[in-house]
Amino acid sequence: MLGRTANGVFWMFRYLERAENIARLLDAGFRLALTRGPGEASVEWQSVLTTIGQNSEYRARHDDYQGQSVTNWILRDKDNPGSVLNMIEMARSNARAVRTALTREVWEATNESWMVLRELLARPVRASTLGEVLTAVRRQATLVRGAMDGTMLRNEIFNFARIGTFIERADSTARIIDVKYYVLLPSVSLVGSSLDNAQWEMVLRSVSGERAYRWLHSGAMDARGIASFLILDERFPRSLASCYNKVRSNMVGLAREYGHESHAHELLRNTGTRLHSANIDDIIEQGLHQFIGDFIAENRKVAAAIATDYRFTG
């Protein structure tokens, strides 16, 4: 396949995943803001913007963190290149450019997502319709993933798509932990305080993990458990360990198809080993923030190595 096509597929799925992750994060932020006073809500919105790396751009155009202006900035503002709407447009534009690499069903699901969301995001989103819009973003991304799962040949194209998905997902989960790391540190948490509970809920919700976590821990929540769940639990599809299992299995697929490994495989092995040999006590002892910061940097390097090894650009 063409290097440009591999690049297009990889980023198409990163954009889709990013749109979906932002929707989850907004949903969680919105809930938290609803149940808190305006002061705390404003802090929460700021942390949402920081997580997705848009705080300074937002501040350049807004004086405060009103829910309405934050959500519209993130979802649809024309000045925001990282808006959900723009992610969907770029995913669709990539899909058009790599049309020959996709099945008709994947293309149509992507195109339909773009049509549906462009329509929904044509006008400002109010609190009363925010839930509906966020649900639609998640549902459309799910449709594309479903079409992908059900119709795509398991070859290199599929591998690049999945690697893009999981590199992005790992990045997203890591950023959420990075911004909220202080609520996940046992030493500063007042056991059972309502603030902690709300923050923990928020973190779990932003990765759609609240149900899974409760089920695993019979409803009991604690910082260490949540951190371990998000970083190390291979059963949870948005944990770092699970994402890296997927990245690895798809990289193995590439190595098998190409008959040899690349530099990216080597990097990946290091990152993977670090994740799998770690336990949560060591991570916290050595510094959760440092650990996550390192992970984000390594994840970025893996992505860059893949782009070079597989000739994404000329």
Binding site: L2, S93, E156, G314
Partner: protein, 476 residues
Amino acid sequence: MPQKPVANFDEMFDADGAVRPAYANFCSWFDEQDPNWLRRKNAEAERFFRRTGITFNVYGDDAGEERLIPFDMIPRIITAAEWRKLTRGIEQRVRALNAFLQDLYHRQEIVRSGRFPRRLLEHNEAFLPQMVGFTPPGGIYTHIVGIDLVRTGPEEFMVLEDNARTPSGVSYMLENRETMMAMFPELFTRVSVAPVQDYPRRLARSLAACAPSRTSGRPTVAVLTPGIYNSAYFEHAFLADQMGAELVEGSDLQVIDGRVAMRTTRGYQPVDVLYRRVDDEYLDPLTFNPNSVLGVPGIMDVYRSGGITIANAPGTGIADDKAIYSFMPEIVEFYTGEKPILQNVPTWRCAEPEALKYVLDNLKDLVVKEVHGSGGYGMLIGPTSSKKELETFEKKLRARPDNYIAQPTLALSTSPIFTKAGLAPRHVDLRPFVLVSPNGIDITPGGLTRVALKKGSLVVNSSQGGGTKDSWVLED
């Protein structure tokens, strides 16, 4: 069925308003359908096209804006006997076109014989000196041709244009059929329609047969597109997809070790046949337009040394130049030794003084076209133009007469379209698609019927608000 006799030839109804035999089965089906259900189906067709992304981009509008070509669900039907005759005429014409190109770029016998004026080649940008003395692999110049036909009477099919560069629209031929079969499956059990679906396979086979002689094994075919903002991008992707070929852009290609190679995830891989949807001018910045970023630097050297097949060959544009079109009857006779089976539309070459005088005297009755124009841009339709428009055009004609040809306003045939108020006749043309390889000439039964959606309008170009119809060739 409404039965309104019309002045021009109507494809569905005869002069007495009776349904022509070709449409008998279709009309009996149509009359049985609930009009409300048909209206719903009509609306559904548009949604279907939007969802599948069968759109085209219009130049000059908002960047990247995608539009639909309106689809009309009443098919245009051609009988098997009509098609056989058309096929013979098209084959003859396409054979002549290739022989003409071969001759123009070699000994120019037709010029020496005095049947074709040399001045049409001089200062003609479509004539490429780089092609002189070179024979493309397999001797094929026009691998893919779209012949635009119009009809003015029961037996009167005429060629309006030969599209010998990069004819587009074949994806609509295929998608229109898909849409009709999805919407009205039972209709196809009542009428025997010749299939068009294997066009991409035929194209792939035809292109592969034109691979350079040094190719070993199965040739690698790639489709070269200018990219996603090109008006016909959907078609480029569609054809590459259907053929299982790579869809490449100029930036994916590079000349390496005397071959044109595409950058794949495993490194550079040579391409044997390039179906390019990029104009000659942009093909090679080292040979043609130096500012082009759509092409491949050095591809012409590789081509001339036999390292790649370019389809269609560079320089074929000279054969579909509108000034040269007027010589097609002579060209057909010169190379085939036969009388042309398909007629030309009478054409005045404004470069010739008597013709120019006639054209200026009768401007309000004529259609005037730019010699190098396409897509319906820059043309004048005398009968529907205002006095002011006629005056402006007269000035243009006097200033550059050699830039124009003129044709009578033809009574183009009509075919009914589906409207909320029922069937209404609209003018149509037909573009069958022709594949040429050393193995022969292959014409897919059907083509693209373009239809002017405005009442009385003669302009069928999609860029000018025309629509399309499914085109049926009946089986015996």
